[in-house]
């Protein structure tokens, strides 16, 4: 038992243990997601977060100790944002053929996402500091976290709101769009990508390939649009 305690105290000091745990927990979450037939409710990030939070609680580990290991994964958010240029580059031909609808839907979708979220939260008495974490929630996580940090929001809360937005969009998109009787797969996919970033895009690819391609385009364009729209939207509520 003392041996275990010694090994534990050694491993729990370095970054290796929690970096490994982060990858393993995500692998477990991803396996659950596949086993559930890629149901958007079985989100791998939510599963990984619950597993890791449980491990931290059971082992009495503080978040900064965990983050000393997990920061190597967190750091990749920046390079991943830059890498989004590649799918955007690949969709330039589709963008050319539908430039006006794409730009109009981008502006309307991105403004609606930020303004309606802030208006509802503000009306329900959410504090200004928390609103700063909410404004960018429709952008893909690395971008949303970057924007929220600049506006004085909390990166962790933003990450959670981004995931919640993604899962909600993936679940409600088909019923909402069917109720509106919209049959254009480009319109359906693009709106889901603008609103619900990568999680919505993954869902759109399951439904129809054209919807998936336009969802990817919507996600990449809204990464740029949100960086401009979120600070403006937030300024209206402060």
């Amino acid at each position: 038992m003392t041996e275990f305690a010694e090994i534990w105290s050694y491993l729990s000091q370095g970054p290796l243990l929690w970096l490994t745990a982060t990858l393993a927990a995500y692998g477990f979450g991803d396996a659950c997601f596949r086993a559930a037939g890629r149901n958007p409710l079985a989100n791998p990030v939510l599963i990984a977060v619950v597993v890791l939070a449980g491990l931290l609680w059971l082992s009495g580990t503080a978040y900064p100790t965990y983050f000393a290991g997990a920061q190597f994964v967190h750091f990749l958010l920046g390079p991943a944002t830059v890498a989004l240029a590649l799918p955007l580059y690949d969709s330039i031909p589709q963008l050319r053929r539908a430039l006006l609808p794409v730009l109009a839907a981008l502006i309307v979708g991105s403004l609606t996402a930020a303004l309606s979220a802030l208006a509802i939260a503000h009306a329900l008495g959410v504090s200004p500091e928390v609103l700063a974490s909410l404004a960018a929630k429709s952008a893909t996580a690395p971008v949303a976290i970057g924007i929220a940090e600049r506006m004085g929001g909390s990166p962790t809360l933003t990450a959670m709101l981004v995931i919640l937005t993604g899962v909600t969009g993936a679940v409600v998109a088909t019923p909402v769009l069917n109720a509106l009787r919209l049959k254009d797969w480009r319109a359906r996919g693009f709106a889901v990508g603008v609103t619900s970033h990568g999680i919505g895009t993954a869902r759109a690819f399951q439904v129809h390939p054209t919807a998936g391609a336009f969802a990817g385009l919507g996600m990449a364009l809204n990464a740029i649009a949100t960086a401009l729209i979120a600070p403006f939207a937030l300024s209206l509520f402060q």
Binding site: V73, G78, V82, L124, V126
Partner: protein, 117 residues
Amino acid sequence: MLHALTALLLCQLAGEAAARSLSLPLPGPVLGLMLMLALLAGFPRFAALMRPVAQGILSHLSLLFVPAGVGVVGHLATLGGQTTALVLAVVGSTVLSIAAGAVTFAAVARLTGSRDD
């Protein structure tokens, strides 16, 4: 792989430097994205170099927000009564923005004669 990774980091570094020195409203990585997009459009051969590394990172994009996500668990207590309001704001705005974006796209596509093919 080494060159592609270096190119990603260089774009981000240039983006961060530009964002700080010119105090631009965009985060550094978003400026890096735009710089990378300009490079890809200018040099099509560059896309073949970037593809394996970019796809590798993007295929596990959601892994990258696990560390920040774990932090929110400690945050929940401080949110208190605001949790319900935030959930309502997220769900409401998600439904509204999907509907508004899709209706706008379909309407403008009809006006400009852009067809789904």
